[in-house]
C-alpha cells in the first residue's frame, strides 16, 4: 500500500521528467544518431532561444501575467544589437543595447499591465504590433548584413570545453530563473500574486512593484534571446522570430506552468522545452513530414493542457474530501470550483495546486 502511495507521489511530482525520459529512450531506440554528443549539443543549441524566452514567460505566467510581444521585441532587440555592432564593432555594446531595448519594451508592458491594469493579453498584443513595426521602421524592412564577429554570440563556443555559447546562456539563465523563483522574496511574491492577487495585496505584497520586476526580467531575457537569435542566423532580420512567443508558451505549458497562475517551475519549463526539442529532432532525423510534425506538436500541447486540468481537478477533489473527512462537515464555508481552482468565496482565498 505504501509502495503504491510512493509510486503515485513520484508519478505526480515528476511526471514531466518521466515523459522526457520516456521520449529520450524511445528516440534512442528509433535512431542511432539521436544519442550522440553532437546531436545533444545540436538540440540544446537549437532550443536556447525559445527556452530563454520560456523562462521569462514562466515567471510572468506564474504571476498571472503574459507576454505576447516576446517574438516582436526579440526581433527589435536583435536588429538594434546587430546594427549597434555594425556601427561600433563592440560585442559588449551590442549585447547591452539588445538587453536595454528588451527591458524598455517590457517596461511599457509593465506600465500598461501593472499601473493601468490593462489585461496582459491585450497590452502585450499591442506591444507585439508596435515592436514589430519599430523593427521594420528601424531597418526600413531590410536585413542588417555583414555582421562579422557578432555571430560569435550564437555560433561560438567557450575556449576551454568547447561548449556553445547559447548553451551557456541557457544554463546560466535557467539557474537565475530557478534561484529567483525558489529563493527570493520576489519569487514568493510572484507565486502569491498568481495564486490570488487580492490576497497577496492584502498580505502586504507590493503587487505593482513585483509585476514591474517580472516584466523587466522578462525583457532582459527577451533581449538576450534577440541577440542570440540574430547572431545564430548571422543576419539582423526585422521579420524574424514570428510566433516565437507561442513556442515559449508551449514549453512553459508542457513543463507544467499553469495558465491560471501560481504554479510552475524553471526546471519544468526546461523539461517542457526539451520534450518539444527532442520530439522535433527525432521527427527530423527519421524524416517525418512537416504536416505530421505539426499535428504531433499540436497534440502534445492539447494533452499537456488536458493533463494539467485533470490533475488540478483531482487534487481539488482530494483537498475537499480531506477537509470534509477531517471536519465531518463543511462548517458552512462557501466554496466554488472554477477552472480547477477552489475558491473560498467567504474569504476569497484560493486553494491552488
Amino acid at each position: 500500500m505504501e509502495a503504491k502511495a510512493i509510486m503515485q507521489t513520484v508519478l505526480k511530482r515528476y511526471n514531466i521528467y518521466l515523459v522526457l525520459l520516456l521520449l529520450f529512450i524511445v528516440a534512442t531506440i528509433l535512431n542511432p544518431n539521436f544519442l550522440t554528443a553532437a546531436n545533444m549539443t545540436n538540440v540544446a543549441r537549437q532550443l536556447a532561444v525559445t527556452t530563454i524566452l520560456a523562462f521569462g514567460a514562466t515567471i510572468l505566467i506564474i504571476g498571472g501575467m503574459l507576454d505576447l510581444s516576446a517574438g516582436s521585441v526579440l526581433a527589435l532587440s536583435g536588429v538594434v544589437a546587430a546594427q549597434v555592432f555594425v556601427d561600433t564593432q563592440s560585442l559588449f555594446l551590442s549585447m547591452f543595447s539588445g538587453i536595454l531595448v528588451g527591458m524598455a519594451c517590457n517596461f511599457v508592458n509593465a506600465v500598461m499591465v501593472a499601473s493601468f491594469r490593462a489585461p496582459p493579453f491585450i497590452a502585450t498584443l499591442a506591444m507585439m504590433t508596435m515592436a514589430r513595426g519599430a523593427a521594420l521602421l528601424y531597418t526600413n524592412g531590410q536585413n542588417v548584413l555583414q555582421l562579422g564577429r557578432f555571430s560569435e554570440f550564437g555560433q561560438g563556443s567557450d575556449p576551454f570545453f568547447g561548449i556553445p555559447y547559447p548553451i551557456i546562456y541557457l544554463f546560466v539563465l535557467f539557474l537565475l530563473t530557478w534561484y529567483l523563483l525558489r529563493h527570493t522574496r520576489f519569487g514568493r511574491s510572484i507565486y502569491a500574486i498568481g495564486g490570488n492577487e487580492e490576497a497577496a495585496r492584502a498580505s502586504g505584497i507590493n503587487v505593482v512593484q513585483s509585476k514591474y520586476m517580472a516584466y523587466l526580467i522578462n525583457g532582459a531575457f527577451v533581449g538576450i534571446a534577440g541577440v542570440l537569435f540574430m547572431s545564430r542566423i548571422n543576419v539582423g532580420q526585422p521579420n524574424g522570430a514570428i510566433g516565437y512567443e507561442f513556442h515559449a508558451l508551449t514549453a512553459a505549458i508542457i513543463g507544467g506552468t499553469s495558465f491560471s497562475g501560481g504554479i510552475g517551475t524553471a526546471a519544468g519549463t526546461l523539461a517542457g522545452a526539451f520534450i518539444v526539442g527532442f520530439l522535433n529532432n527525432i521527427m527530423n532525423l527519421t524524416g517525418v513530414s512537416s504536416f505530421i510534425q505539426q499535428i504531433v506538436r499540436g497534440a502534445i500541447i492539447a494533452l499537456a493542457v488536458i493533463y494539467d486540468i485533470w490533475m488540478k481537478n483531482r487534487k481539488t477533489k482530494s483537498v475537499l474530501g480531506s477537509i470534509e473527512n477531517k471536519d465531518g462537515s463543511d462548517k458552512g464555508t462557501n466554496r466554488t470550483i472554477e477552472n480547477g481552482t477552489t475558491t473560498d468565496t467567504d474569504s476569497g482565498t484560493k486553494i491552488d495546486t
Partner: protein
C-alpha cells in the same frame, strides 16, 4: 483621474503625430521634372495638364524582406514619374487585410491599384471588384491569372528554379545525396519552383537521393535547424536545393565550420545576403528576381494604362543566374540600392 488625463494627453499627441505624417508609410514621389530624370525605359509622357494620378500599392507584407524590397523599389521608381503618386499599404501577411486595402482603394477612387497578393485566390474577387469599378488593376509577384481587364507584372517562378536546375544537372555529382527546402505549401511561387526542380532535375537524375525534405516556410532559422538535424542523420550531403535564398543561407550557416562545408547550394531571389554568400564562395548560385526590374515594369505598366496607350498588359521580368563569375555586377546593383555598404 490623473492617469486618465495623462493617457488622454498621450493619445492626443499620438494622433497629432499620426496626422502630421499621413499618408504613412509611403512618402509621395517627389515632383522631379520628367526631362531631368526620366525612367530609363519610361515611355514618353503625353501632356497631362499637371494632373497627378494616384496609385495604391498593396504589399503582401512589409515584414517579408522581398516584399519590403519591392515596395521600396516601387517608391524609388515612382520618383521618375512626376505625375504619379504612389501610396504603399501593408497587407500584414493577411488575406483579410490585403482585401480590406483593395476595398478601401476602390472607395478612395485610386487611379491604379497594384496588388501583390498574399493568396491569389483569396484576392481574386476583390481584384475583380476593382476592375468592375473601372480602376486600372495590376497584380504582381505573383500574378492572378484569368481576370479580364486586369494587367500583371511578374517573374515566372517555374523558370526561376528551372534555370538553376538545368545548370545543377552537370554540377551535382553522380549518386549524390541532397536536401530540399520548400516554401509554404499552396504558395504559387513555392509550388512552381519545386515543380521545376522535379521536372528539370530530379526526373532527369534518378541517381540522386533526397535524404531530407522539409517545409521551412521561407525562414532562415527553420532551415538552419533542419540542416543541423540532417547533418546528424547523414554522413554525406552533396547539395542544398532551396526554393529561396533565405532558406539556403540558413542551411549554409549550419554547415559553416563542419565537415560538410563546401557543399553545393542553390537558391532563388538574388538577395543581398545571397550575392555576398556567392562572393564568399559559400553559395553556388541563385536566380535574381529583381525587385528593381519588377518596379520599373510596374510603373511603366501603370503609366501606359493611365495614358490609354494599352488596356491590358502582361509582362515578365527575366531570370538572370548569379554565380561567382558575375556576382560583382549584382553586388554593385545592391550597393547602389543601399542594401550593401
Amino acid at each position: 483621474m490623473k492617469m486618465k488625463l495623462i493617457l488622454a494627453v498621450v493619445l492626443v499627441v499620438a494622433l497629432l503625430a499620426g496626422c502630421a505624417t499621413t499618408p504613412a508609410p509611403a512618402p509621395a514621389a517627389p515632383a522631379t521634372p520628367a526631362q531631368d530624370a526620366p525612367a530609363q525605359d519610361a515611355p514618353e509622357a503625353p501632356p497631362t495638364d499637371g494632373e497627378v494620378f494616384r496609385v495604391a500599392y498593396i504589399a503582401r507584407a512589409q515584414a517579408d524582406a522581398f516584399a519590403a524590397w519591392l515596395a521600396n523599389a516601387v517608391l524609388e521608381e515612382a520618383a521618375n514619374y512626376p505625375n504619379i503618386e504612389v501610396t504603399v499599404f501593408d497587407g500584414q501577411a493577411s488575406d483579410s487585410v490585403v482585401n480590406t486595402h483593395i476595398e478601401n482603394a476602390i472607395v478612395n477612387q485610386f487611379d491604379v491599384i497594384i496588388v501583390q497578393p498574399h493568396n491569389g485566390e483569396a484576392q481574386r474577387p476583390f481584384v475583380e471588384q476593382a476592375v468592375a469599378a473601372g480602376i486600372h488593376t495590376i497584380t504582381t509577384n505573383a500574378r492572378i491569372d484569368g481576370i479580364p481587364g486586369s494587367s500583371s507584372v511578374d517573374a515566372d517562378p517555374f523558370e526561376q528554379a528551372a534555370v538553376n536546375a538545368r545548370v545543377a544537372i552537370d554540377q551535382i555529382p553522380e549518386g549524390a545525396n541532397v536536401v530540399v527546402l520548400n516554401g509554404p505549401p499552396g504558395n504559387f511561387h513555392a509550388d512552381e519552383r519545386r515543380r521545376a526542380w522535379q521536372a528539370e532535375f530530379f526526373d532527369a537524375r534518378p541517381d540522386v537521393t533526397i535524404v531530407g525534405e522539409q517545409i521551412a516556410n521561407w525562414n532562415i532559422d527553420e532551415a538552419m535547424s533542419f540542416m543541423e538535424d540532417w547533418m546528424i542523420a547523414n554522413d554525406r550531403i552533396d547539395a542544398i536545393i532551396s526554393m529561396n535564398d533565405n532558406m539556403a543561407l540558413g542551411a549554409l550557416e549550419a554547415v559553416r565550420g563542419t565537415a560538410f562545408e563546401g557543399l553545393l547550394a542553390y537558391g532563388v531571389d538574388g538577395t543581398a545576403e545571397a550575392v555576398l554568400s556567392i562572393q564568399a564562395g559559400e553559395m553556388t548560385q541563385t536566380t535574381l528576381q529583381s525587385a528593381y526590374d519588377l518596379a520599373e515594369l510596374l510603373l511603366q505598366t501603370s503609366y501606359r494604362l493611365l495614358m490609354g496607350l494599352d488596356t491590358e498588359i502582361h509582362v515578365d521580368v527575366g531570370n538572370p543566374i548569379v554565380t561567382i563569375d558575375n556576382v560583382e555586377d549584382f553586388i554593385e546593383l545592391h550597393r547602389r540600392a543601399g542594401a550593401i555598404s
